[in-house]
């Protein structure tokens, strides 16, 4: 089994404060790996470290067995794609133009699109269902449409690993499901390793092969959802009362918040 | 094809010949102007452009206005000068209009015309002679040099003789007078600006037997009201380029400060600024006016 991402004693401090504290983990190739945890636990930082956006301090990251720092910027971009939570739209491109930007790691300096690039963009837009929006400007789209355009752009990079930072945060229920199903399909059909940061514990439980519960920059729990989502570990991390039982679909845990007015 | 080529060669030959004739070196001479530049100027200039109002005045005074083809704006003396084509102002020369007039000589003032413009004119093939009149003696020298350049030496000598005799008349009558009245020569109102040592007005005040209370290294020093009160001038001369009612208003404003000797004795005079700041023959007129203001007991009152 190939290892997609491996970190060793990874640490990162911001303004003197440690944000990530000696995190060591491995993500197998083709895994659906979800990172959960309370706000400020360092989830986004960990993700940015993994794709090379933030420079690491102490600790080591290996991508497919090679040190992250040994990759050229270009080859790293062809290996890992990053989908942030929100898009900057100060000078908005059309969807087609934005998606084509994802072909940059495969192009020359000026990025003049060739037929292969246009074809890849078309396919990516079809996969995420935004091809009918190709000529619309990004700032005219809804949050969900922007998210899907962003994923199409990531797909154009033809990455082996795709990192998504809270992709379902601004989506309505049907789009949330569609997105998770899309990631599942990518994993199955294209053997893409999916690493996702999520707020939604239950959604994560339904799709993830393995979960990482991050708390104060440290690994609280790491493993299959059933192992990680226990009342003890969740309450320790999130600081609130929860109930965990099995989902009616079977096969994965279901987490329910316990409101203050109920007594167990 | 061959016919056309032959025609072009013919025209080129004629043009070259004409150019040779037109630019014949025998009609020009090398001189060093008052700014230390070596320029080649024609012996008998036929098309002269004046680059400052004072130069215009001198050309007319030398009786050579018929070769004057262009002047800068504010060339308003004598009145006939107002009819001549304008070539911009003397701080912003209009090069296109100057070139258009095809001058064979331009006359500039060193500390007035921008050097860059003068250099460009020279580079475009127009000879520019720069004068540098900074005091009454150097104005007289400039008049003589212009007389030489414009083939009006006799006229220049006569003019200079007349100027010198008028100056001598004033200075002669002042011999023996003990005191020098304190003079404040005001050229600006908000803020109040006066004249320092390196100005014509200062020199004329001195020649007219007065003491310039604003003397100093700054050419146009600024004062507030309080400082002028402290200087206690005996005579206030108000000079302005703005001929409308504003200088009258300035005089009336002084009326509110009777602690000033000049105000108490009513010795506040309004003058036309041109005869005090242009390096031209009319400086002598300015001197005579000032003498009348400063020593009315000797020169009788001037208005």
């Amino acid at each position: 089994m190939k290892t997609a991402i491996e970190t060793n004693d990874l640490s990162h401090a911001f303004g003197g404060r440690p944000v990530i504290d000696r995190v060591s983990l491995t993500i197998a190739a083709g895994d659906f790996f979800v990172i959960i945890g309370p706000n400020g636990s360092g989830k986004t930082t960990l993700m940015k470290l993994m794709c090379g956006i933030l420079n690491t301090g102490p600790g080591r990251i290996a991508i497919f067995g090679r040190d992250l720092r040994s990759y050229s910027h270009r080859s790293l971009a062809r290996t890992i794609a990053y989908v942030p939570q929100t898009l900057e739209v100060s000078f908005p491109f059309t969807v087609q133009e934005a998606v084509l930007l994802g072909r940059t790691p495969h192009q020359n300096l000026l990025g003049i699109p060739r037929e292969a690039d246009l074809e890849a963009a078309r396919r990516a837009m079809a996969t995420t269902g935004v091809e009918h929006l190709a000529d619309r400007k990004l700032d005219q789209l809804s949050g969900g449409e922007q998210q899907r355009a962003s994923i199409a752009r990531a797909l154009c990079q033809e990455p082996d690993i795709i990192l998504l930072d809270e992709p379902t945060a601004s989506l309505d229920l049907s789009h949330q499901l569609r997105l998770m199903d899309l990631m599942e399909a990518l994993k199955q059909e294209k053997a893409v390793t999916v690493v996702m940061v999520s707020h939604d514990v239950n959604l994560a439980a339904m799709y993830a092969d393995r979960l990482l519960l991050l708390s104060n920059g440290k690994i609280a729990e790491l493993g299959p959802p059933a192992d990680v989502l226990t009342p003890r570990s969740l309450e320790a991390a999130y600081g609130c009362r929860l109930m965990v039982d099995e989902s009616p679909f079977g096969g994965w845990p279901r987490v329910t918040l316990v409101p203050g007015k109920f007594r167990l | 094809m061959q016919n056309r080529l032959f025609n072009i060669l013919k025209i080129a030959a004629i043009a070259a010949g004409l150019a040779l004739l037109a630019g014949s070196p025998a009609d020009a001479k090398f001189v060093t102007d008052q700014a230390g530049r070596r320029v080649e100027i024609p012996d008998r200039p036929q098309r002269v452009v004046s680059l400052a109002p004072s130069i215009t005045e001198i050309v007319f005074a030398l009786g050579r206005e018929q070769i004057l083809k262009g002047v800068t704006s504010y060339s308003d003396f004598p009145p006939e000068a107002s009819g001549l084509p304008r070539v911009g102002s003397y701080v912003r020369l209009d090069l296109e209009r100057i070139i258009e007039l095809r001058p064979d000589l331009c006359i500039a003032v060193k500390d007035g015309n921008p050097k860059a413009a003068v250099d460009r004119l020279q580079a475009l093939g127009v000879p520019v002679y720069a004068l540098d009149p900074r005091s009454v003696p150097t104005v007289i020298q400039a008049i003589l040099e212009m007389g030489a350049m414009l083939n009006a030496e006799d006229r220049a000598e006569r003019l200079v003789r007349e100027m010198r005799s008028r100056i001598d008349r004033v200075t002669a009558k002042l011999v023996g007078t003990g005191h020098r009245p304190r003079v404040f020569f005001q050229i600006g109102d908000a803020p109040i600006v006066s004249v320092g040592t390196n100005t014509f007005a200062h020199e004329l005040i001195g020649l007219a037997g007065g003491h310039n209370v604003a003397a100093g290294s700054a050419a146009y020093p600024r004062f507030n009201r309080e400082q002028v009160l402290a200087l206690a001038p005996d005579v206030i001369v108000i000079s302005s380029m703005d001929r409308a009612g504003s200088i009258e208003r300035t005089r009336q404003e002084w009326g509110r400060w009777p602690s000033v000797p000049a105000v108490r004795s009513g010795r506040i005079h309004l003058v036309d600024s041109d005869i005090f700041d242009r390096p031209s023959p009319r400086l002598v007129e300015g001197l005579e006016q000032l003498a009348g203001f400063i020593h009315p007991e000797i020169f009788g009152g001037f208005k």
Binding site: I53, S90, F93, E97, L101 | R92, A116, L124
Partner: protein, 336 residues
Amino acid sequence: MTVSSAPLIKRLLLAAASLSVVLAAALVAALSSGSGGDGILRSLSVVTGQGAPDPALETIVWRIRLPRALLAALAGGALSLGGLVFQALLRNPLAEPYILGIAGGSAIGAIIGILLGLSHFPGVSLCAFLGSLATLVLIVAMSTGQSLVKKDALLLSGVMVNAFCAAVIMFLVSMTQDARLHNIIFWLMGDLSSADGRAVATLAAILAPCFGGIFLFSHAMNLLLMGNDMARSMGLHLRSVTAALLVVTSLMVSAVVSYSGLIGFVGLVIPHLLRFVWGPDHRVLVPACILGGGAYLTACDILARSLPDQGEMPAGVITALIGAPLFIFLLKKTRR
């Protein structure tokens, strides 16, 4: 907008071709108008080489108007390009080429040069250039390390330095009481009248590699528009690209300012106008700004020379009078 969805190469060629035509027309118009000469038709005949030869008019057209028109075209192109690059680097629609202290630094340098009595070229120009270099170094030193790519930190440093320089300028101006005040005011308002062949050739030699270099970075600027993180994740060397663009563009704008003074609103408005028509892809916008900005300033300079009865206005006044309402109009059109 149908134009902005056309394929890239076609859009680039169309933009370059149409704006080249506009620039050529502006240059011909500039050669044909001015205070000398008997009017447009006569000057036009000199330009096309027909009609009887007239040495005075030819001197006017080729040795006075041509260098000036070329300076306007070069300056307009460089200022527009500078505005485009800073708008991309700072992701801010209000960014303009003087924003990183160049206005303040070059003005102080130029004023000192004028007060020292130096001639405009090379003396005052060199002082202006050194002044803007000094402020650039100051701003880079203030934004050390990480802040170089944090766009807001850079912007803030630039605004503060410009404000401080404005105070120094007011001080210097208030201390000046003679004819040099006139020169200073004209420099501050932007003034193309000092152009001559040698100056224009020097400036062209400086600007040409800057134009070429920035064009090579045009796709990188597209990536920058998506945000620092995205740009990095798609393979961009963020710090070196940002630093390179910053330095090259600052040098380019400083070179222009040292010749022409502070001509405003060109670098702010032209990128927006061209973006409105041709879309935000910098591979099209870089050549478009060079050509379109050049045409715009050439046209404004024609107005500056021909509007007043006597003499001329500073070019910066015309660009402000046209540019400000144009900018407001464009902002209303592009924001909802």
